[in-house]
């Protein structure tokens, strides 16, 4: 039995796209595309692929034009899942796509499509949760600051939303889990690696706003309808640690005499 081959990319999305490009130059085509942290199998021959922006761009364009923008989005989001086998999953998905073109996104019962879609939807769900639950605070420097601890590194998916709607204020969203920061200076935004963000010094007004929001949050609930399970279903507990209303100490309720 001859050894099967696999390609190894550097862990970047461009690296994976380059590896997919290289795969098409080999006969037989490799069985897997993995990255340095993945588990290696006995009897498999591994070959490193050097990331090449031009090759990656050709594959990117190929996916977009032949399979459609939705297929590319799914592959990109599935990549952000950081699943240890993401390279192989996306490779198989894209190979199928080069065969069946626009039919790829309709093949909702094909395991290769289901796998990628499932990972993509986990990532998309996390991103949409963060659009809901990110909380920004005003610091002494005038820059608004937010800390998040998501399971997946979704900053590239959420930054454009905040940059658009909060375009009149500078802000930083720091992803503590993945040590990444999204920085917006009021004109443009960048994504950067950040080992440790400075603990921010909040303004006095910020402390007042946290209290106001906590008061609103506690008051707006209807006592006769209290339903913690329902709340948790919509607002998973893992987000609470970064949310003002779930961490701030409640104030007394002098106005209502409670």
């Amino acid at each position: 039995m001859s050894d099967r081959t696999a390609l190894m990319f550097d862990g970047s999305f461009d690296g994976l796209l380059t590896a997919i490009f290289e795969a098409y130059t080999q006969r037989p085509m490799p069985a897997e595309i993995i990255e340095p942290d993945s588990q290696q199998h006995l009897g498999m021959v591994y070959r490193n692929v050097r990331t090449d922006a031009a090759k990656a761009a050709r594959v990117r364009r190929g996916i977009r034009t032949q399979m459609g923008g939705e297929a590319y989005d799914n592959a990109w989001k599935a990549f952000l899942s950081q699943h240890p086998e993401r390279g192989t999953f996306i490779y198989r998905y894209v190979r199928l796509g080069f065969q069946i073109k626009q039919q790829l996104v309709r093949s909702l019962t094909d395991e290769r499509v289901i796998t990628v879609n499932k990972l993509a939807s986990l990532v998309a769900r996390e991103a949409s949760h963060l659009l809901q639950f990110v909380r920004l605070g005003e610091t002494e420097t005038g820059v608004y600051y937010s800390e998040i601890t998501p399971t997946y590194p979704v900053l590239p998916l959420i930054m454009p939303h905040f940059v658009h709607r909060l375009n009149t204020q500078a802000f930083v969203i720091y992803d503590k889990t993945h040590k990444q920061a999204g920085l917006y200076n009021g004109r443009q935004w960048v994504l950067t690696d950040a080992d440790n963000a400075q603990p921010p010094a909040y303004t006095a007004e910020e402390r007042q706003y946290r209290q106001l929001w906590k008061t609103f949050y506690d008051t707006v609930a209807i006592t006769e309808r209290i339903n913690p399970k329902l709340r948790q279903q919509f607002m998973p507990k893992k987000y609470w640690r970064n949310m003002v209303e779930m961490t701030e100490t409640p104030t007394a309720h002098p106005a209502l005499g409670e």
Partner: protein, 436 residues
């Protein structure tokens, strides 16, 4: 009084309003201006009762000259009173928006003085937001019953959504509990808003830059369980509002006993299950192509508490089933229990590539344990599909009310299932519906 106390009082006064969505408006952000909206809306938090918090929901003022018996702000109720100045409230909204606490403002008001005076204060607040701060986030404002068409016109150009609360599902209920409000002064502003929206659409076809009037449409809310109206009356009214007033949403609010009037229910838990069933039906009306008459009729004026309304409908209509997954059109698929809007679209998409088999349904997001009784795939029934309607009823009821499973014996289980609670004669009360 400081801003914290005002916020507390005016939130407490506003919290019984059910509507808190920020949907229906898609205003992309503009460089140099704060905010934007996105069509599906965004819920920024969920309060301890599990309800979504999307907007800062407060009253401008809870001082009110009316004495509506179901309302916590009625004149005769002993609660602390407060009013925001327009400046205070606009600043508060901006501060919260910048922190991503909210999508915008949901503003209503008690009526001190004339309805138009209450509207003027609200308009002043919203003008500061829109004109001074250039705020492009979501604003939902209540039109005060009895206000002038001019006030509606002015407010409508500033907000995304406007609503007038129907309050109670029947005219009789209004007469008893809100004598100062009449059907007429509720419906009049609703008509103004409807006509304003129609006119605005025509204008936009001609001039591109006129400000849109209530772009996210109008909504309303009614209180359920304060009056003896049946589900059928409530739903027919709802359907009439969608069809004849072009409403975007009708909200239901389970009555919480805040009033003391002799005819109002006291010490009763809010009818949450009933509210839930009404919302399920509302979805069937808006997204699934059902009509009210299919779901409730003169003989069955109440929704089945044990089954969701689509399952209940399916069991009454065996002639409609089984539905063939590989050939049925979208509307037919949407009538199948266990198939929602998303899974119907996935079925339509996936079957263009190849015929679907029973084992594919789960992959497409179909809830197979519900759907299995009602579908075929290329003529094949699904494994363990049963035909006996009594047994199917029990299976489906257990799925929607798992606590029923705990009942000891099968006999006991059977008796748990009701013959629906039918009032002996149609209530004499004239539902607003008939007249809409």
């Amino acid at each position: 009084m400081d801003i914290m106390q005002k916020l507390e009082i005016l939130t407490d006064s506003a919290k019984y309003d059910a509507a808190c969505t920020s949907s229906g408006s898609d205003r992309s952000p503009v460089a140099g201006k704060l905010g934007g909206t996105c069509a599906p809306g965004i819920c920024h938090s969920f309060s301890a009762d599990g309800r979504c918090i999307s907007l800062l929901k407060v009253l401008q003022s809870n001082v009110c000259m009316y004495d509506c018996q179901y309302c916590v702000n009625r004149r005769s109720n002993d609660v602390p009173r407060a009013s925001f100045t327009p400046r205070e409230l606009a600043d508060l909204t901006i501060g919260m928006y910048r922190r991503n606490y909210i999508e915008g403002l949901f503003l209503s008001s008690g009526v001190s003085g004339t309805p138009d005076h209450a509207m003027e204060e609200m308009i002043r607040t919203i003008r500061i937001l829109r004109e001074e701060y250039g705020f492009r986030g979501y604003i939902h404002a209540k039109a005060i019953p009895g206000c002038s068409p001019e006030a509606v016109e002015l407010l409508g150009r500033l907000v995304d959504r406007m609503s007038v609360n129907i309050e109670l599902p029947s005219e009789q209920g209004l007469k008893t509990f809100a004598p100062a409000k009449t059907k007429q002064n509720i419906l009049a502003p609703m008509r103004h808003i409807r006509d304003g929206i129609t006119q605005s659409k025509e204008e936009l076809a001609v001039y591109r830059h006129v400000p849109k009037f209530v772009p996210a449409g109008q909504s309303t809310q009614m209180i359920v369980g304060a009056t003896p109206d049946t589900d059928r009356q409530i739903l027919r009214l709802t359907e009439g509002l969608y069809k004849q007033y072009g409403l975007k949403r009708v909200f239901f609010s389970a009555y919480i006993p805040v009033g003391t009037h002799a005819l109002l229910p006291k010490n009763t838990p809010p009818p949450l299950l009933r509210e839930h069933r009404l919302y399920q039906t509302d979805w069937l009306l808006r997204f699934y192509g059902f009509s009210v008459d299919e779901i409730v009729d003169e003989e069955h004026p109440s929704l089945d508490p044990f089954l969701d309304p689509k399952c209940a409908w399916a069991l009454r209509h065996p002639e409609y089933f089984p539905v063939e997954i590989n050939r049925a059109d979208k509307e037919t698929l949407l009538h199948v229990p266990g198939i929602g809007v998303k899974s119907a679209l996935r079925i339509l998409r996936a079957r263009r590539v190849g015929a679907l088999r029973p084992e594919d349904l789960k992959k497409l997001g179909v809830v197979v344990k519900r759907a299995k009784f009602f579908v075929t795939c290329n003529g094949r029934r699904l494994p363990d599909a049963i035909d006996d309607p009594v047994i199917v009823y029990r299976h489906l009821a257990e799925l929607s009310r798992p606590e029923l499973k705990k009942a000891a014996s099968p006999m006991e289980q059977l008796t748990l299932f009701p013959t629906p609670n039918l009032p002996t004669g149609e209530d004499v009360m004239a539902c607003l519906t008939g007249q809409l």
